[in-house]
Symmetry: C2
Subunit: 343 residues, 2 copies
Amino acid sequence: MGTVTITDVARTADVSAATVSRVLNNPDGVSPELRQRVIEAIDALGYRPNSSARSLRTRATRVLGVIVSDVTNPFFTSMVRGVEDVAQKSGYSVMLANTDEDLAKEQRYLQVFAAEQIAGVVLSPASATDTHIDVLSSRGIPAVTFDRRLRTADVDRVTINNRRAAEQATEHLIEQGCRRIAFISGPPGISTSSERLAGYHAGLRRAGLPVEPGLVSDGGFRVVSGHEAALRLLAQDPRPDGMLVANNLMTVGAVDALDDLALRVPADLALVGFDDLSWALNARSRITTVDQPTYEIGVRAAELLLGRVQGERSPTRRITLPATLTVRDSSRRLPVSGGQPVS
Amino acid sequence: MGTVTITDVARTADVSAATVSRVLNNPDGVSPELRQRVIEAIDALGYRPNSSARSLRTRATRVLGVIVSDVTNPFFTSMVRGVEDVAQKSGYSVMLANTDEDLAKEQRYLQVFAAEQIAGVVLSPASATDTHIDVLSSRGIPAVTFDRRLRTADVDRVTINNRRAAEQATEHLIEQGCRRIAFISGPPGISTSSERLAGYHAGLRRAGLPVEPGLVSDGGFRVVSGHEAALRLLAQDPRPDGMLVANNLMTVGAVDALDDLALRVPADLALVGFDDLSWALNARSRITTVDQPTYEIGVRAAELLLGRVQGERSPTRRITLPATLTVRDSSRRLPVSGGQPVS
DNA sequence: ATGAAAGCGCTAACAC
DNA sequence: GTGTTAGCGCTTTCAT
């Protein structure tokens, strides 16, 4: 009952270990009869290849690394599940790391992954410019970014069109009659932050509205920072009549701030957030959101990555998935119809 | 610039590979001078041990497996972070798996982990009785459960006192004047479900209130099921005047249901939930909750597990961490003071 | 198409 | 205290 090795299988099937190995890795190179015998022996013995030995020999593991900036945010974990499902179907495991938007942590995990000879990495980088994925590329380990992109490295990525999504959200607010639209941005240096900010600006410009820096406040993509930013923005006179928030957690904080100030949505202020909020107390709040296909983002990222892992050499791929502006009560001041596609 | 191996280090430091290995694994067995030279060589060359080779040799990885029943629930991911932080400090990586409360998935991951010769596993089992951790124990791989426990296996665990927590929450509702207290339970077969249900019953009994089966509804630990269960329970006549909900996501759903029915909290119904809700839109809803020390649960579980991994042979350890009933607006019908410890 | 043999990088006996 | 040696389980030339 000790470990069953490839030699045991070979002996049972009365073939060499090499043949067993071939059956496992390149079934076509073995005659049907032998293949059959080997498979039976494997089943009979309950043989499972030792992944350490395999990795040692091939210099590659069957593990994918996933680095997200906040594991406690369902937005990211939903993407991770997409990665996980695809990976598992292909016989890969997933190793998850959390960076808390901390560049040093990200770097450390990248190094760990490289040292572990991980097959490939999917990540949502904590910075669009200060990245250290070169520790991967220098070892030939492929990487794919999801949700965010890297400006300083040429890497596959799967994102939504953040600029356009923010622009449409802004336009929607303007259509609803808003004229002073505040924007709670993400931390500077992250692609989604700058792109969504750019989209917000574009939306204002297109409508001939002034771009007022005082209407923008940086948040940290977390509940508290959204709360603080909203309080800051809403203290202004004249008060904003619309607000766009760059991620889900900050939207939660912003709603809290509105409650603090006893402001009614959408009467006093029309609100639009990013990302699904169905895990939050929102059925009644009915917040209008830019919904991203999170699970599918993960799926596509994993597919891209596995392609690279398996040696695909095509030029850098950039997948842009559609986001949808789902209009709900929080921004509805005029009679409007349901969801409208973005990008 | 290919991979730096232990032989390279040995040559540079002018010692044998065995000495380098000793410096790495058992520094005291090497004279200070040699140790120094080896360390310098390691730094100079940027040597990182090949974990596959090491695992192949030692028949053990430096990886911990973590199996949770819902990765998108911040309650679990917060615990995972506790595990992660402890693991990393000890040079272990973490492999995360998600089961969706699906026993088959759990079993599959357990098998994968066993095959990967993972060092140890922390899990929140999807069933208190139907478990397959014997695939671990039969290979000498230690396991620790967190949040939940296993009735049919003798395993280390770290939990709160769920029975007592639910009992105190129930007593609190009774103190606030509730007489018909509904309970939204978790899925049957999970220890937290049955223990919290037992606590709810105990609370009622202690106050001389009748235990009415019609006031209990099973939910699936998710938002929708909480919503459905609440609608079911609130359709009764006479309507419940209090409600206890067995986890965070279901509480979110229950709040939605209350809104659906235009019921006010706490006037029409006093509400108490389990687990932190600060990531949800609750600053204003101000839901009274039984708060668990999630991060610390993860920390303690990891410490326990690492102890076992390192050969600790003590009898089964059961760590019970304190939970706190944090009274907020949703259940406050009488003037009451702040938080009170539970268990 | 199949087998024999070498070796991936490391650790653990065993000698000295 | 240190070096030598063997071998973990697998894949991959290289013969045949």
